[in-house]
Structures are given as C-alpha cells and as structure tokens.
C-alpha cells in the first residue's frame, strides 16, 4: 500500500514536469490535453520512489532517539525492507524488486567506497597497513578455505540434505563469497559503536582491502566450477595466484593513476571553480569503472584513489568546493547504504530463490564465527610480535565479532550461475541468513558487548597543536635514530616518502599558492583557532552580536558553519572521522572576506582566554602577537588613514607630545630594567594600537569626524609609545568607539596588565571556591610563582602610578587637540586607580588564579558573561559619557 501510494505521488510529480512535452506531442495527433506516459518514466520514477521511501524511513527511525541508540540503522532498514517486500509480495503475488548485482556493483557500491576512501584517516591507515593487509589477505584466505572445506566435510559426512548437490569446488566458491567482511555493513555498525580508532581502522581497512582476495577467489573458483573438477590443471592454480597479485596491484595502480590525474586536473581549475567537485566524483567513478572493466579490484581502485588524491585535491580546490564534495559524498554514500540495506530486506522475501537446509545454514554460521575468531587470534599472535601497540584480547574479541557480512556477499551469490552451480538456491538462502544474522544479531549486540568489555572507545579529545607538533617532531627523531642505526624500518620509509612528496609530488600536483598553505602545523593552528572561535560564538555568541561587528553576516555564517560541523560529526560519527578533517571551515587568507571573518572571530575568541591567562601572568605576550597579525589584514587601511592624518593640522601636536613621551619612555625603560620579561611584549604591542584605531574608524563611519581628531592624538602617541610601552593610560582612548569590543580588552589589559587582570580575580576567586581544583601538584607551583611574583612585582606596581604622574601632564598639555580628549583622559585615570585598589586587595590571592587555567573549560561558560561585559562595556559607557561632557 505504501509502495503504491508513493509510486502514485511520484508519478504525479514527474507528470507535472513533463506536462508541456506531453501537450506538444498531443497537439500533433489528437487534441488530447493529457496523456498517460507511465511507460516512459517508469524506471526513473521507481528509483526515485524507492529512494524517497528509504529516506522517509530514515526520518521516521530518527524520530525516536531511544530506538536508534539501541538498534543500528542498518537493522531497521533491513526490517523495513522485509516489511515492504512482504507487502509487495502480497499485492503483486510475486517478488518484483530485489537487489540486482549489476545495480549494486555499478551504482550503489562506488559512492560508499569512495566516501570511505576519501575520508579515510590516511595516517592511521598507513600506520596500521601491515595489520590491515594481513587480516585482509591472510585472514580472508584462511576464512574462505577453512569454511569451504569444513562445509564440504559436513556434506561428505552426510549431514546435509541430499538436495544440496555440491562438490568441494562449490563449497570453496561459497566459502570465498561468504567469508569476506563487508565494508558497508562494518561501516554502518561500527560508526555507531565508536570503538577506538585503531580497532576501527583495522576492521574497516580489512573490509575494504579484502575485496581483491574475494574477487580473485570468487572468479577462480567460479571458473573452476564451470570447468568442472576434471579439467582443472596445475597451471590453473598458478594462474589463480598470479591473478591475485594482478587484480590487487592492478586495482591499486588504477586508483593511483586516477588519483594523480585528479590532483593534476584540480590544479588547473582555478577559473572554473564551480565544476571542481564534479571532477572528484567523475574521476573516482571512472577509476572504479576502469578497474571493473579490466576485472581488477574496483574497490581497491576507488579506495586508493580517494586516499591518495585527498591531500592534493583538498589543497587545490576552493573552500566551497571542499564543502560541496564533503556533503555530496556523504549524501551519496548514506543514501546508497540506505538503499542497499532496504533492498537486502526486500530481496529476502523472494521465496522462489530459497532452498533451506538447516545443516548448511547452521554449519555456515558456526564456521564463519569460529574460523574468524581462530584466524584473528592466530594472526594477532604473529602481528603482535611486530606491532608497537599490541592488540589485546578485548580488541581481538571485537575484531572477531565485528566481522560482518553484507551486501557484497549477497550480490555475489545472486550472480552465481544456477545452471553451473547446482546448489545456488541453498547458497542464496544461507547467504541471506548469514547476512541477516551478522547485521541484525551481531549489529545489535556489539554495542552492549563493547560496553561490557570496556573496549577503549574513541575519545573525542580535541586535537591540540602540541600533539601535531610533537607528532611531527617524533617522526623526525625516530627517523633519525633509525638512520643512525641503519635500520630501514617504518619511520625510515615514511621519512623518505615525505621527502619525496615534498620535493616532487606536492610541487607537481599543488598550486603554488596552496603549496605554501599546506604546512601542517600552521594548518592545525588555524583549525584550532577556528574551532575555538566557533565554540566561543556558540556559547557566548551574544557578546559577539552585541559588539555589532563590522561584518553583519558574520554571526549567521559562523552559526551555519557550526551546525554543519556538528552535523557532519554526527553523520560520520566514527572515531575515524577526526575533528581536523571536518572543521576546516576557513582557509587562511584565501580571500579577503575569509581573512576579515577570521580576524573578527579571533578577536572575540581570545577575550576569555586572554582574560584568564593574563589574570595571573605578568609575562603575558600572546594578545599583542595576535593583534600584530591583524596588522597584515589592515595594513592597507592604516596606511591610508595615516596619510590623511599626517596632512591634518594636528601634526604639530602629535610631534610635540611625541617628543615628550619619548623622553618619558626612556625613563620608563630604565625603570623597567630590573624586570626584563615584561618589556618585549609591551614594546611589541605598541604598533598594534595604531592598527586598532584605524580598524575601528573604518568600521563606524558615523563617528569618523570626531574620531579623526582623537585618532590623530592617539596615533601620534601610539607611535612613540613604542618606546614607552602601553602603560600610559592615555592609550585607553581607543575605547570611545562602541564598536571595538574585541580590541579594547587588550588595550586595557596591556595598559596595566597585572592590575587589570587582578581586578577580574574577584570573579575568579569567588567562582573558584565553589569548584574543586583537580590538580594538586599545581599547589607547589603556585606557591613558587607567587613568591616569584611578590619579588618581581614591586617595580611593576610602582611603574603604574609613575606612569600616571608622567603622562598626566603630557596629555593635559594638549590644548590643540580636540576638546573631548581631556575628559577622556580623566576617565581613563579613573579606571586604573579603581582597578589598582582592587588589585592591591587581591594581590595575595593572585596565585590562586594560576589554577584557573585548569578550570578553564568549566569557566568557559561563565567567563564571557562575567568578564567581558563587566569590563569592557562598563568602560565604554564611561568613556562615551566622558566624551559627551
């Protein structure tokens, strides 16, 4: 019923589209207004209807979180397929639809394999390539031969129905198709289980790479069966072995060739960005078809095409194309998977193909479980001798149990020639039972099993720059040590490959501009920044929007990218889908908009971090560095502004104050000699001030006039404050503009780093009393640091008031400058004094702030709310009021 309803709806849809055409045709013959054209649209309409049904079913499944958290989606789809098949059978009296092997191999399988290859974490994959290959080749060979021979033994023992007419070759053929672990099923189930990455990649990699073995065994045994046992010669066995190498290596070679082509093509698509994603899909599909055409392993071809092209393609294509590729691939793979499982269910209803034999079914189930377990244990024994991180018992249990069979086996068994393989019907029935058993029973139980065995799950810890850095460094160190000892191990070869890649391949396959950007450490730095920014916007977005940033589209854009990120994470929730690969939202300096967006994001991002960090560190250097980078972005702007300023009348004033301040600055410098670490940041910070001012002026043109005046004064000072550092309270007059929330905290902090930060300590301390401090070992550090700070701080604290004393007269001696400047200065002075009071009172509690960093994740939600609004907006209000006086 459901089927027909859908079919009808679909027809109506297509009918409407084809309406004009039908009318035109009708006009020629008889003046019919409408014509029934079901025959013409039948096939695509049915396809669309099935996809629609499957997708709607998916929606229904996910309405209830409880169901999907217990039952894997694949099980539900199979059950749905069974139901739909039953309905079709009841209505049409014959089983109409089933999984056609051709459709499966040509259309449904490639997207899944491409998706898994393209998003394969290549480092993890190649780190474990030895284990993966062993399980894929040796394991599959062992499984198929053992299963085939054991079943044959059962048959010989007379335990099977006499209707099963099969010899050794038939059973070996059956063993070859039933023993291969299926990538679709493994992916569908393991994605929801979240075992650790190593375990996942070994099982999944095995399921992908065993294709070559399966294909060869299947073809060889199939031809043996067709030839008949009497006609097999010794050379045929040799040919079988040779064809294995041919099929696997050939498939890989085809994949590599197309990966190379693909990377090369994307290098030149700069002007036709819009078709970039097309190349990815097209060439990968052509690789699949090419391999299939010459009967090589097509799965291997697509997998390696995906793995190898990714690095270069991702670097070459534009950000939007990257997103498109990602989404299209996920959509295609997901819908293929859905259809495969649903059709598996539907196909099972067709009883005309069934021939049940209990012994065969039970024997097969028992043997595939048993031999897989035995094979895994034996191979792991051997592999653990060579592995750095041995696979323990629990891993082995999961690996044995996770050997799911799926649609590949089913498609292969349907492909058998019933005339040659007499027992085909029995094999089909057995295969269906095995597939259903593994997907439904094992799929259902593997999650509780994993929980019960306490298998190490994939911890979604955030990737850190440290890890990236040390990973690279360790690689080099280990490669060096291997070189010294003259041992050509894994690190040696990887090092060699990386050098080769860097010297030749990347040069050849990447755009010049992209090549520079591909530096991994910098990449990770950027991605981390973006991720932090996104999470910040996520939790404290109102601060950002309150800031009314220069880019009005910003908040919506970030929220969109955020949602896409979480969606993707959910979709490909396997541990293998690392955060890094998902969240490459913004490329650095690709175009100007991205740059601005990045700047804005980071401006808001670093507020809380800066806060907590600066709250107890006087050696605080990062914010000015970050702003120094902003300089690049706004350099043009600044230059233009500076030109206009120089031409104004205030030149005199600025030069005057400059000279004076320089003098003071020199004094300050001498003052601060006993405390060297603080100097460089302040010195470095000064130019930033200029940038900020220009930025701010650009952002709000309404206040341009007034701010021009202020800007001049301010810039003049800013330049000479290179010497003096940021301690002059006068520098605070950047704040008047209401739209510069991001830069203002830096200025305030830089101005009086210890004081400004300790003012926030009131918040910290209060919140900290309620939190349990997790790291006891920090106590010692805190004490030592507090003692250090108490020693080091006196000169620093003294410099603050001195500043006021020095700068006060200077600033007041600016009669030429705009009238509102002076009140502002006063307001600025108010601020430090009130801050300094609090700082004095809190100075003894400052070491406690050290632990704040430990609490940072906990504090993250509070910090933006408490600190950012409490500090900056208040100041802003003050300043504004002052400026209007």
């Amino acid at each position: 019923m459901v089927m027909q309803g859908d079919r009808g709806r679909c027809c109506r849809g297509t009918g409407a589209i084809q309406g004009p055409h039908g009318d035109a045709g009708g006009l020629g013959q008889v003046l019919g207004l409408l014509r029934w054209q079901w025959q013409e649209v039948q096939v695509p309409c049915l396809v669309a209807a099935w996809i629609l049904v499957a997708s709607l079913a998916k929606i229904v499944f996910h309405l209830s979180r409880k169901v999907t958290s217990i039952v894997p989606e694949s099980c539900l789809l199979i059950l749905l397929g069974l139901g739909l098949g039953g309905i079709v059978l009841a209505v049409a009296k014959k089983a109409e639809y089933q999984l056609e092997p051709n459709m499966f191999f040509l259309f449904l399988l490639p997207p899944i394999v491409l998706d898994s290859g393209y998003f394969m974490p290549s480092r993890l994959f190649f780190d474990n390539i030895g284990a993966i290959l062993t399980y894929a080749v040796v394991g599959t060979l062992w499984n198929s031969f053992a299963t085939g021979v054991a079943l044959w033994g059962l048959h010989r023992a007379g335990l099977m129905d006499p209707g099963v007419k099969a010899g050794l070759m038939d059973f070996l053929l059956f063993g070859s198709l039933i023993s291969a672990v299926d990538p679709v099923a493994v992916l569908a189930v393991f994605e929801e289980v979240h075992v650790n990455e190593t375990l996942f990649i070994i099982v999944f990699g095995e399921s992908l790479l065993n294709d070559a073995v399966t294909v060869v065994l299947y073809k060889v045994f199939n031809s043996f069966v067709e030839l008949g046992p009497a006609h097999i010669h010794a050379t045929d066995y040799v040919k079988g072995v040779v064809s294995f190498f041919l099929v696997s290596l050939g498939g890989t070679a085809v994949g590599l060739l197309f990966a190379f082509l693909l990377a090369l093509i994307t290098r030149f698509t700069k002007r036709v960005r819009i078709i970039e994603p097309l190349f990815v899909f097209l060439l990968a599909y052509v690789a699949y078809l090419a391999a299939e055409m010459v009967s090589l392993s097509s799965i291997l071809a697509v997998t390696f095409c995906g793995i190898c092209c990714k690095k270069y393609v991702e670097a070459n294509i534009s950000q939007k194309s990257r997103t498109t590729v990602k989404y299209t691939m996920k959509t295609l793979a997901s819908s293929s998977e859905t259809i495969i499982f649903m059709f598996l269910g539907i196909s099972a209803v067709d009883t005309s193909k069934w021939a049940w034999d209990t012994t065969l079914v039970l024997g097969t189930l028992l043997f595939i479980l048993l031999f897989r377990a035995v094979g895994v244990v034996l191979q792991t024994c051997v592999l653990n001798r060579f592995r750095l991180i041995p696979l323990d018992r629990i891993d082995q249990v999961v690996m044995s149990y996770g050997g799911l069979r799926g649609a590949v086996a089913f498609a292969l068994v349907i492909l058998l020639d019933g005339a040659k393989v007499k027992a085909k019907d029995y094999f089909v029935a057995t295969t269906i039972v095995v597939v259903f058993f593994t997907v439904i029973v094992q799929g259902l139980t593997i999650k509780p099993l994993v929980t019960w065995l306490k298998v190490k799950r994939s911890d979604h810890h955030k990737p850190t720059l440290n890890e990236e850095l040390h990973e690279h460094a360790f690689d080099h160190i280990l490669a060096a040590v291997e070189d010294i000892v003259g041992h050509h191990g894994y690190h040696y070869w990887r090092d060699k490959w990386e050098q080769f890649d860097k010297k030749y391949l990347s040069q050849l396959l990447m755009r010049k501009s992209a090549y520079r950007l591909r530096d991994e450490i910098w990449d990770v730095y950027y991605k981390l920044n973006i991720r932090d920014a996104i999470s910040f916007v996520d939790q404290g977005g109102h601060v950002l929007s309150a800031a009314k940033l220069a880019l009005p589209s910003m908040p919506s854009r970030t929220s969109m990218s955020e949602s896409s990120v979480t969606n993707l994470l959910r979709e490909s929730g396997s541990g293998a889908c690392l955060d890094l690969q998902v969240i490459d939202t913004v490329r650095s300096r690709r175009d100007k908009e991205d740059a601005v967006m990045h700047h804005v994001l980071r401006g808001s991002l670093y507020k809380p971090r800066r806060r907590y960090k600066a709250s107890y560190s006087r050696h605080f250097i990062s914010p000015d560095k970050q702003e120094r980078q902003d300089k690049e972005i706004f350099r043009q702007n600044m230059k233009r502004r500076l030109e206009t300023f120089k031409s104004t009348k205030h030149n005199v004033c600025s030069s005057k104050s400059k000279a004076r301040l320089k003098e003071k600055g020199r004094k300050k410098a001498t003052h601060r000699v006993p405390h060297p670490p603080t100097i460089p940041p302040y010195l470095a910070a000064a130019p930033v001030l200029v940038m900020v001012s220009s930025d701010e002026e650009e952002s709000n043109s309404s206040e341009t006039e007034r701010e021009d005046d202020e800007g001049i004064v301010f810039i003049a000072r800013a330049t000479d404050e290179v010497l003096q550092g940021k301690k002059t309270p006068g520098s605070l007059d950047v704040c008047p503009s209401p739209c510069i929330i991001p830069p203002s905290p830096t200025l305030a902090e830089k101005e009086l780093p210890w004081k400004g930060d300790q003012a926030d300590l009131a918040v910290y301390v209060s919140s900290e009393t309620t939190k349990i401090v997790p790291v006891d070992m920090q106590k010692a550090w805190n004490q030592s640091i507090s003692s250090l700070e108490s020693i080091a701080s006196p000169p620093g604290i003294e410099t603050g008031p001195q500043h006021k004393r020095f700068t006060c007269p200077v600033l007041e001696e600016q009669p030429q400058s705009a009238s509102q400047v002076t009140p502002e200065q006063r307001s600025c002075f108010q601020f430090p004094s009130h801050v300094s009071k609090s700082s004095r009172s809190q100075s003894d509690s400052s070491p406690d702030g050290t632990e704040q960093q430990e609490l940072q994740p906990l504090m993250a939600a509070e910090e933006p709310n408490r600190i950012v609004p409490s500090t900056e907006p208040r100041w802003l209000i003050q300043f504004n009021r002052a400026s209007h006086l």
Binding site: F386, L388, I389, H461, T464, L465, N466, E467, L469, H470, E471, A473, F474, H476, I477, L478, A479, A480, V481, E482, D483, I484, V485, G486, H487, G489, H491, Y492, D495, Q499, R516, D519, I521, W522, Y525, L528, N529, R609, K613, Y616, S617, H619, F620, I621, S622, K625, Q626, R628, Q629, E632, P677, V775, M777, Q778, W781, N782, I785, T850, Q853, E854
Partner: protein, 175 residues
C-alpha cells in the same frame, strides 16, 4: 649508563648488531675489541654527515642529547643508551624526559618560546614567517603551560603527554 641497559632483555645479537652498526660509522676509530673499555668517541661530524640524515632536522639535536658531553660526540655507551630509551620497555617517564630534552635546545630545563620556535622552524623547514611561528608557539605554550610561566617545564610536558595516552607509545623503535 650501565644500569640502564638492564632494562633490555639480554639479547646479545641485538647488542652485536648495534655494536657493528656503531663500528660501521667509523671503522678506523672503533676497535673490535672492547674488553678493556677503550675511550672511543665518534665525533658529531661523522654522524651528521651520514647521507640518510642530511635532510633530518633533528640530527644534531639527537646526537647532542644522547651524547654524554652534550656536543654530539657519541661513545658506544651513548649509542646504546639511545636505544634503551627508545626501547619498548623503557619507562614512560624516561621517554618523556628525553623527548623533553630534545626540545630543550638551550638546556635550561624549560621549553621556552625560543626552543619551540626552533622546533617549529626545523619542522617546517623555515617556510613559515616569523610571525606565524611565533603565533603557533604561543598557542603551543598556551595549551600545555599549566603554571603559566610562559614556558614548559618537564611537569607541563609530562602532564600533556599523559593526557594523550597513545602519545609516547609511538616513541618506540623496533630493531
């Protein structure tokens, strides 16, 4: 020196291979007979000039860290030490200590920013601008610096490594 080697399984062929490799570096310097403990050191120039190592950014640093004199001149003991540190049975703390030492270019027992900048520059083969390097280093310190002194102490480093469980497990060499 000597007691560290006891963490090895007494696999003599392994030592033999290491010794021959060591001797291969400079057959004219290293005698075959080590019974009377001759005082032989391989100058760094020999190790640094190995063709396989010419692209490796850490060659000098490794030699310096593992050599007793800190100049990169290695004795056989140093050579063996290096492998005992990188063996699977070496305790995690020892590995962390040596990894830390490799990063600590100026030997002040802290990984400070200049050390990190050196590391990053070596890793990226000087392809990043100084500003980018500096930004990345700030981030690295920011991530791992628990006591917030702007540099990483051994404790910071160990803490960071314990947080990532698989981290040191890759710091092995199988011979």
């Amino acid at each position: 020196m000597g007691n560290k080697q006891t963490i090895f399984t007494p696999d003599l062929s392994f030592y033999c291979r290491l010794f021959y490799r060591y001797r291969d570096l400079a057959p004219q310097l290293v005698p075959l007979d080590y019974t009377d403990k001759p005082d032989v050191t391989l100058p760094y120039e020999l190790i640094g000039s190995m063709p396989e190592l010419k692209d490796n950014p850490f060659r000098q640093r490794i030699a310096e860290v593992f050599s007793e004199d800190g100049e990169g001149n290695m004795t056989l003991d140093d050579f063996l030490d290096m492998f005992s540190v990188l063996s699977e049975m070496a305790p995690r703390d020892l590995k962390a200590y040596y990894a830390f030492k490799i990063y600590d270019f100026n030997n002040d027992d802290y990984i400070c920013k200049s050390d990190l900048e050196k590391t990053v520059n070596k890793l990226t083969r000087n392809e990043l601008t100084p500003e980018e390097v500096s930004l990345a280093c700030d981030k690295v310190i920011d991530e791992a610096d628990l006591d917030n002194d702007g540099k990483l102490s051994l404790e910071d480093f160990q803490h960071m490594i314990i947080r990532a469980p698989d981290f040191l497990s890759t710091f092995h060499i199988r011979i």
